[in-house]
Amino acid sequence: MKLMYFAWVREKIGFAEETVPKPDEVTDVESLVDWLKDRGDNYFAAFNLPGVVRVAVNHEHAHLDHPLVDTDEVAIFPPITGG
């Protein structure tokens, strides 16, 4: 999976993107965020507050139950503030 981070999610994690093989336990967006949270203090700081971050899968807004496969591009970011 290609993982992309934006805004304060990116700042807390410390980098903008990474590519990781999808672990078996990661089947959807929710389990991805749970898995990421345990990868280190920087990830924990980004994903600590439940329900705050938003996710897009392959450039489309996605819900927590959106299934994931290894070839997906998953972006994680705070609520949008454009316009």
């Binding site: 805004a7 450039h59 972006a75 970011f77 705070p78 609520p79 949008i80 503030t81 454009g82 316009g83």
Partner: protein, 152 residues
């Protein structure tokens, strides 16, 4: 048409381009969003606008197509900037042209309301104390929801 760019835009030129040679247009509604120098009571010195290249274009294209689906429009335009900005700078231009003014107004407001909750942009405001990410506003969600309801 949609454009995502770092450089500024000339709203007058863009609006004129929309109507040029199309005499079926009776009304053009446009909205320009600008960087304010005050936010939440604090003085703003600068703004950094981050976005998600690829997804931004996709979302704006989708929003524009939905507007054209819902109103009889002759043309639409969305220009959204990213990168470093200062108070007074233009951030976004939305234009909707139609035979009649009601469709132009509604579509223009729909475009900016939807863009604010769907297009992946994030604002960071620079103040004397450093820089803070802008928090999303509930009122923006409600503004977008208004159009969801109108669909039913």
């Amino acid at each position: 048409m949609i454009r995502v760019q770092q450089e500024d835009f000339d709203a007058g030129v863009e609006i004129a381009r929309i109507t040029h040679g199309n005499h079926a247009v009776g009304g053009v509604c446009s909205f320009i969003g600008l960087v304010r120098d005050i936010a939440g009571g604090e003085k703003i010195d600068s703004m950094e606008l981050e976005h998600y290249p690829g997804m931004t274009e996709k979302e704006l294209t989708r929003i524009e197509a939905e507007a054209k689906d819902r109103w009889p429009l002759e043309d639409t335009l969305i220009i959204h900037r990213y990168g470093p900005l200062a108070p007074g700078d233009q951030i976004v231009l939305v234009v909707a042209a139609s035979a009649h003014r009601k469709a132009a107004f509604e579509a223009c407001e729909f475009l900016i309301d939807f863009l604010k909750t769907k297009a992946p942009f994030w604002k960071k405001e620079g103040t004397g104390d450093g820089a803070q990410w802008v928090e999303a506003k509930d009122e923006d969600d409600r503004a977008a929801e208004k159009w969801e309801k109108a669909e039913n």
